[in-house]
Symmetry: C2
Subunit: 121 residues, 2 copies
């Protein structure tokens, strides 16, 4: 009976070079770590997550986001700029309104997977 099927080995300093080499293989490289962190960072703030939840399946104008989220217009605009700079949202101007929508499927995927786990399980 194995309690944890994920852990395959115990690695410590006294080990042979081969073990240490295995560990080095598992280590993600820094550029990858940086890009990965950037993606997760986009999802690391409660208000931004609430904002994203609204943009997952609808195109919504800024004023409606403000009314729904109960945040100031300025705070929302700043968050949207942030998401824009990361290319996570797209926007479309129509008259005096600007409609935003989520434009990154893997952020959408991570959001939904995270939500599943947090809600039940």
């Amino acid at each position: 009976m194995t309690l944890d099927p994920h852990i395959t080995a115990t690695i410590c300093q006294d080990d042979d070079t081969e073990q240490i080499a295995i560990l080095n293989d598992h280590l993600i490289d820094s550029p990858t770590a940086n890009r990965l962190a950037e993606v997760f960072k986009a999802l690391s703030d409660p208000n931004r997550l609430r904002l994203i939840s609204l943009l997952l399946e609808n195109e919504v104008c800024v004023h409606t986001l403000e009314a729904t989220l109960g945040m100031t217009q300025s705070a929302i605009s700043h968050q949207l700029r942030h998401l824009r700079q990361l290319n996570l949202v797209r926007f479309r101007k129509e008259g005096r309104h600007v409609y935003y929508a989520l434009d990154d499927d893997h952020v959408r995927g991570l959001f939904k997977q995270g939500l599943l786990h947090v809600e039940h399980g």
Copy 2:
């Protein structure tokens, strides 16, 4: 031909109450947003991601993490404390060594899904 299969509606302030109600249904509640943010925040730092990558499939002692990551012992110890407080890692003392391993399957899942997308795609 639909360019974006995800976006189902455009919602704006002038809309009827029903549309606004739909939007409110999509909004995640604050406690959920907070817990979700906490999970993603754990994955939002490059060094922490590199650390987690080592713990995904192996139990590793602190000194080996230090050697492999090229971080100071103190920095690693602080990061491990953080992950401990979030119940994301478990640890096991054996003599003067302490072995750490990842202990949260949905963080493991999010990490791997994120990595897939960042690496190719």
